[in-house]
Symmetry: C2
Subunit: 312 residues, 2 copies
């Protein structure tokens, strides 16, 4: 009998859902809106309803379900309890498996969404085959997910993998979103790269195509591809920070591979060419051969990872 | 039937051995010299002989043995193979359990010695009761051992926990033992603290009791206890580096507690008073409450940890 898994990724505006076969093959995916009203009380009932509808549509019985994995935007403990709630969808702390099992009596596991994405990339994406991996998400912020010996590392209070908040720059004067100054996120996120660019452009009047439109992480890497010297300078600075930060991560957990995802990674392989030399310069010698790959699952990493933890 | 465990810690000059009860109580401990001649060929036979002699002496039969744990100064994989050899005792790569089982037919597990010490402190020392812990050894160098969910983290090439080689100082001109510049070890090891002290003393002619004898980590902390201003300045600098380095470690693995051991930690609680404020300054907010404790097992941490892995 073929068995099925649902992977659910609860986000701030939509909930992504995926139906997977037991080999990890994505059979179907869809989205439903995240209804945040009333402390997000309707979110899980909607998820359950959507899954039950899909099961009816595909003729899948409860006994054919291996389980449901749920990724949520907050810290989750081993038993699936959202320990500190999830501010951006209004959830207070509660046990996610118990809540969902009120609607569907199957195995339910819950996990932090960044960790789910990391696990997804290990299971079916850029880190396929690796057992020790660090997934790095370069988006509005810099997130991280750490998988050691095939298991997601959550840490004592769910803060493992907060690599965006590694302190790197003593001279920083502006504050990071976390309140500290000089965090990796301030230089390697999309907003961080744009900030590096604005700072560089304000420094002098050197000509650059970056002066023509709005400055963003994308315009910087587009500039790099067009051979713009100032853009290359900015990307080099970005790469130095990220390479140095990941060298630190390597000295702590020594992964086989770093998988780089998030919006900024859409720049492609050229992004890695700025990160790898800095990494090699700062890494402990035994870690210098650590692999680098781009994430492959994009926005689907979360549903893949949520489904994947069911097969752990 | 009471069961027994032997914990073995193979060092460069002596092999430490301990006989434990199954509750982790140390019943007896002793040492034998490490015979490095001939590529260290005699070391394991000597260990086996010493264990068999102890068993005869105590009237312990093979069936009463739960196993033998061995800590060695090199990277060890999951199957107990010393993957890169152990330079300072002359060992080439080989499988340690197989080699020891040629003499005693019981469960044998092998582990890196720094990791064994970390595990020992978690099991019976300063981190007792913690499931996620980072042990920091401040000795000639700075070593680390990482335990997550009760398991030792070794990393892809056995380099996990190399926290002494976290890059912290861009302005450093001297090289670390690893070849890089600006590693944590250059400021937080016994030699690093002495170097910070010599640099500070050379800076001006400010009076200090440190000018009276030989400068060492011990003399710096003795100076601190005596209220010497320059010594306090140096200890503050040391604390800033170590606190910043451990804040980075916390953002990666988010342990419940840091357990600080090694020769430098003999300074006592006063050492932590220099590390904690810097840690709090640089730590990701959710990690600020991470605990700090001094190691409790001293030189016995290795035999405790080696024995402890048998009961995993």
């Amino acid at each position: 009998m073929e068995r099925y898994i649902f992977g659910v990724d609860v986000g701030g505006t939509t909930v992504k859902l995926g139906l997977f076969g037991e080999k990890g093959n994505l059979l179907d995916k869809w989205e439903i809106p995240t209804v945040k009203a009333d402390g997000g009380a309707a979110i899980l009932p909607h998820v359950a309803e959507s899954i039950l509808t899909k099961m009816a549509e595909k003729g899948i019985g409860e006994q054919e379900l291996a389980g449901i994995g749920v990724g949520v935007p907050g810290a989750v403990d081993e038993r699936g309890t959202l320990v500190g709630g999830a501010v951006n969808i209004g959830w207070k702390p509660f046990n996610i498996p118990e809540a969902l099992q009120a609607y569907i009596k199957v195995t339910v596991k819950a996990v932090n969404d960044a960790n789910a994405a990391a696990f997804g990339e290990m299971w079916q994406g850029g880190g396929k085959g690796a057992n020790n991996l660090v997934a790095v998400t370069l988006g509005t912020g810099v997130g991280g997910g750490i998988v050691i010996d095939g298991r997601i590392v959550t840490g004592a209070v769910g803060a493992a993998g907060e690599i965006g908040h590694i302190h790197l720059e003593d001279g920083e004067t502006e504050a990071c979103g976390c309140g500290n100054k000089g965090c990796l996120e301030q230089y390697a996120s999309a907003t961080g790269i744009a900030r590096l660019a604005r700072r560089r452009l304000a420094q002098d009047g050197a000509p650059s195509i970056l002066r023509e439109g709005e400055v963003s992480a994308k315009s910087v890497f587009d500039g790099v591809k067009a051979g713009d010297k100032i853009a290359i300078e900015i990307a080099t600075q970005f790469g130095a920070y990220l390479g140095k930060g990941l060298a630190v991560v390597a000295a702590v957990v020594n992964p086989e591979i770093f998988v780089i995802g998030g919006g900024v990674s859409k720049a492609g392989e050229i992004l890695l060419s700025f990160v790898k030399p800095a990494f090699a310069q700062y890494a402990f010698p035994a870690c210098r051969e650590t692999g680098f790959a781009l994430a492959e699952l994009g926005n689907d990493a979360g549903i893949y990872g949520a489904a994947g933890i069911i097969l752990l």
